[in-house]
């Protein structure tokens, strides 16, 4: 596996750590959305574990999580909690899209596509819950998308 691919996967792992942390942070503010929050948290935990294993299998040391992550704005209610979830889902989209750009390995491409797609769907779901219109973005993972 090329160093470039490994580095891109490490960045993606970082966004998965941040997502796991953020889902934990927001859960208190989204009691109405408990099922969706649990689903997102589980998905990111599973993705994080898979990604750590992939890095180890490819001879790299997975980057550890930070002690805490700074949401784009303070989380104090349901609306700001949803904003934080959309932000972490967008971050994971961008990181996994970047993996697609940096590997020719077909198995890693499939993994990255699945991570990008599922994060984009969750971001859309949270925008719907928040009443944001439009709820989707046309090119998930693209900075200007």
């Amino acid at each position: 596996m090329s160093p470039e691919s490994i580095a891109a996967v490490q960045v993606a792992l970082g966004t998965e750590h941040a997502a796991v942390w953020s889902y934990g942070l927001v859960s208190a503010f989204l009691a109405q959305q408990a099922a969706g929050v649990a689903e997102g948290a589980n998905a990111h935990r599973a993705r994080r574990d898979l990604t750590e294993r992939w890095l180890k299998d490819n001879g790299a040391t997975p980057q550890p999580p930070a002690a805490a992550y700074l949401p784009p704005q303070p989380v104090s209610d349901a609306a700001s909690a949803l904003t934080a979830l959309v932000a972490v889902e967008n971050d994971t989209c961008a990181a996994w899209r970047s993996v697609l750009e940096r590997t020719d390995d077909q198995a890693l491409r499939k993994t990255a596509l699945e991570a990008l797609t599922t994060a984009a769907v969750r971001a859309t779901r949270w925008r719907k819950v928040a009443g944001t219109s439009p709820a989707s973005i046309s090119m998930p993972g693209v900075a200007s998308g």
Partner: protein, 138 residues
């Protein structure tokens, strides 16, 4: 002898016309994007159809730009792919739109593993964009 061996394939190479390039796999994705946008435009009664039309229209533009970048159209009169004619309104417009997006999502996803890297990222975002639209319609 060595010389003869070396020259023979060259002679063949000179007389054989270049094989036509295989079709660009993105052409089909761009066509699907245009068709989805056209379908969404005809079913305005479906909530969020306009969002589908707009996003799939953007996909079509981005995919066509990549197709033209790799193989620039031969002349300025090269045919711009015609906008699909207005499709008839299907009996269950919302289901038809979902089915079309589902097919487009699958086509894009299937291509991602084998494309050159920069195209994999482009098509990956298109796939994720289709999946997002399916969530909008859900």
């Amino acid at each position: 002898m060595l010389l003869a061996v070396a020259v023979a394939p060259l002679a063949v190479a000179c007389t054989t016309p270049p094989a036509p390039l295989p079709p660009d796999p993105l052409v089909e994705l761009a066509a699907s994007a245009r068709a989805d946008a056209a379908l969404a435009s005809t079913v305005a009664e479906v909530p969020s159809a306009a969002e589908v039309a707009k996003n799939r229209g953007e996909h079509a533009k981005l995919l066509q730009a990549e197709i033209d970048r790799e193989r620039p159209p031969v002349s300025s009169s090269a045919p711009v792919p015609a906008a699909p004619s207005t499709p008839p309104t299907p009996p269950d417009p919302a289901a038809a739109l979902r089915a079309a997006l589902d097919t487009s999502l699958r086509k894009a996803s299937d291509l991602v593993p084998t494309l050159p890297a920069h195209r994999a990222a482009l098509v990956g975002s298109v796939a994720a964009g289709c999946a997002s639209l399916l969530e909008v319609l859900a």
